[in-house]
């Protein structure tokens, strides 16, 4: 609007100071963008896309202790359970131990039923079920390594050697699955192999199904079903622990550390500093412009309008710095996408929303004191140099 030029002119009155303050803001928001993106990622790890429609049943001792296959009918018999699958961690790495990948041995058709989020042509599902050495890959994983349907895929297991002692397993890629929506697509980094083949060909651990995942007939039945499943094995050597898939995932993330705490602590330090810096800049700017502000008032600008001008100036300053910083963060976020298995830049709309919120709060906190001062400024005192 028409006052924009006035605000802009005021901001760039002291070019060096404004530029340097802007640069500091850019740095602060670059950091904010990246760190908040990490925060959001770790928080949403618990948002398993179907919420509480699946239950994960593991050995009570730990999830690395495989539950026996013979438990399957027991779990299937629990009221409220619609379909059950099992998955055994394969301990996969590709070519070098460093390239660890996520792979599970499953029953193909059970997988299809329990995870309707995976979208794959029917023909490929059938091929998976009928090909003993078949393997299906998530789209993200396939893209990352450029794996194609039809090719042979040699995979190593750092846990299970084959009967002949070799750790090198060879599979045939029979399908690539996608997620049903953007959220699900973010999770397409897993490989699935045929459990029957795997169980027969592995040297030890035969009959161990890994963990069980049950699809609920009704979404919010999780607690009761979990309790009933666990009740069946109390005091037996194979005691189970069942919880919603969401809880299970969250647990995992929590173990890495209080990521939240660390990130928020750093962000806190950064914002405190930025607050001080920008606050100082704005306070100084207003101090220097007292005669000008007084003149504006003589021209007929009301006390409030002068206050709004200062607030607008503060908002513009912080807004521009934040926008530039976030843009930079988004670009860097694209580079980190692979590491976090994200579909696009990890600095997504959610992070931008947080940034926008912080800009408003910051602008208010920083801008209000000098703006108030500008509002209360008495024309005659200012003109007289008092």
């Amino acid at each position: 609007m028409k006052y924009f030029r006035l605000v802009l002119a005021a901001l760039f009155a002291k070019k060096i100071r404004t530029t340097l303050t802007l640069l500091s803001l850019v740095m602060a928001y670059l950091l904010f963008g990246l760190l908040q993106a990490v925060n959001v990622l770790f928080n949403s790890a618990g948002d398993s896309f179907s919420g509480a429609t699946r239950i994960v049943t593991q050995s009570r001792v730990s999830f690395t202790q495989s539950l026996p296959l013979r438990m399957l009918p027991q779990i299937e018999s629990v009221k409220g359970v619609q379909r059950v699958m099992y998955q055994q961690w394969f301990g996969a790495y590709y070519q070098e131990p460093r390239n660890q990948l996520v792979a599970f041995a499953v029953d193909p058709l059970r997988l299809k039923d329990v995870y309707p989020e995976w979208k794959m042509p029917d023909a490929q599902w059938q091929k998976f079920a009928s090909t003993r050495t078949g393997i299906i890959l998530g789209r993200q994983l396939a893209d990352r390594f450029n794996f194609k349907v039809g090719q042979q895929l040699p995979m190593n297991s750092n846990i299970f050697p084959k009967n002949d002692g070799s750790k090198l397993w060879t599979f045939e890629v029979v399908g690539i699955y996608d997620g049903k929506d953007a959220d699900a697509q973010r999770q397409t980094g897993v490989m699935y192999i045929n459990f029957d083949y795997f169980d027969e060909a592995r040297q030890f651990g035969k009959g161990g199904a890994g963990i069980y995942i049950s699809k609920l007939a009704q979404a919010d039945d999780a607690e009761r079903v979990a309790r009933e499943i666990d009740a069946m094995s109390i005091n037996s050597p194979e005691e189970t622990k069942s919880q919603s898939e969401k809880e299970f995932n969250l647990n995992f993330v929590r173990q890495i550390g209080d990521i939240n705490l660390i990130v928020n602590a750093i962000l806190g330090a950064v914002f405190f500093t930025i607050l001080l810096l920008t606050g100082n800049t704005m306070a100084q700017a207003v101090r220097e412009r007292i005669p000008q502000l007084a003149v504006l008032k003589t021209l007929g600008f009301t006390d409030s309008s002068v206050m709004w001008l200062i607030l607008a100036e503060t908002l513009l300053l912080i807004g521009i710095g934040a926008a530039l910083g976030m843009a930079l963060a988004t670009v860097v976020g694209f580079g980190l996408a692979g590491f976090f298995q994200a579909a696009g830049s990890i600095v997504d709309a959610r992070v931008w929303a947080y940034a926008a919120g912080s800009v408003l709060v910051l602008a208010l906190v920083v801008g209000l004191p000098p703006a108030w001062r500008a509002k209360r400024l008495k024309i005659v005192d200012a003109l007289a140099g008092r």
Binding site: L6, F12, P291, L299, A384
Partner: protein, 230 residues
């Protein structure tokens, strides 16, 4: 000539710490439309205070100030601001232009408070600059102008909303003799040809000669009211 400025029993006191200092004491005067008045007096006489009250920059402690029939001493902050925008133009000793705006944009400032379109505002600003003789300097920034030119821009800004009253506080205080004369002549022209009523505070007797009437203040009271026959 009808009265533009009517002042009745005007008093103004300031509170400094615990003391109350009375700067103006029961002042009464009348300034007709089209007059050009110089306010003079020693430092501390209250002339600037009187000017501020006439211009609506401050409120009196007691008494009445009427401008063109309107009691401005009864107006509140925002109403007073609105009144100033339409009725008064200010010229200060130090030109108080916005350094980052061009001359034209500086002149345009008072018009931002009106509903005029950008095109109209620009037109009016350019006309005002023409009147003060700076029609070709619109695009210059204050730092590219001389002291006298800056003051002209300030005068153009004071004119642009077409107020009836011009209030000037030591407008030539910072200028050399020659430039000061130019500015004062400009003010005179505005008074005689455009009918602007001008109230000017000055300590320079030579500047006062350009006015039609000289009011002397001392210790907050009017002590002399002289017609200028020059």
């Amino acid at each position: 000539m009808s009265s533009l400025i009517e002042i009745k029993n005007l008093s103004k006191s300031y509170v400094r710490g615990k003391q109350s200092i009375e700067v103006l004491h029961e002042l009464s005067l009348s300034i007709p439309k089209g007059d050009f008045v110089a306010l003079m007096g020693p430092s501390g006489s209250g002339k600037t205070t009187l000017l501020n009250l006439i211009g609506g920059l401050d409120q009196p402690t007691r008494g009445e100030v009427s401008i063109d029939g309107k009691r401005i001493d009864q107006l509140s902050g925002n109403a007073l601001a609105a009144w100033r925008a339409r009725n008064v133009g200010f010229v200060f000793q130090f030109y108080n232009l916005m350094p980052e705006l061009t001359a034209e944009r500086n002149v345009e400032l008072p018009l931002l408070l009106t509903g005029l379109s950008a095109a109209n505002r620009g037109k009016r600003a350019r006309i005002a600059l023409e009147i003060v003789g700076l029609g070709d300097r619109g695009r210059h920034k204050p730092k590219e102008l001389s002291g006298g030119q800056e003051q002209r821009v300030a005068i153009a800004r004071a004119l642009v909303a077409d107020p009836t009253l011009l209030v000037c506080d030591e407008p030539t205080g910072d200028l050399d003799r020659k430039t000061a004369d130019e500015i004062l002549r400009l003010l005179q022209t505005l008074n005689t040809e455009q009918g602007k009523t001008i109230v000017m505070v000055t300590h320079d007797p030579k500047a006062a000669e350009y006015a039609k009437r000289i009011l002397h203040l001392d210790k907050g009271q009017l002590v002399d009211d002289v017609s200028n026959k020059g």
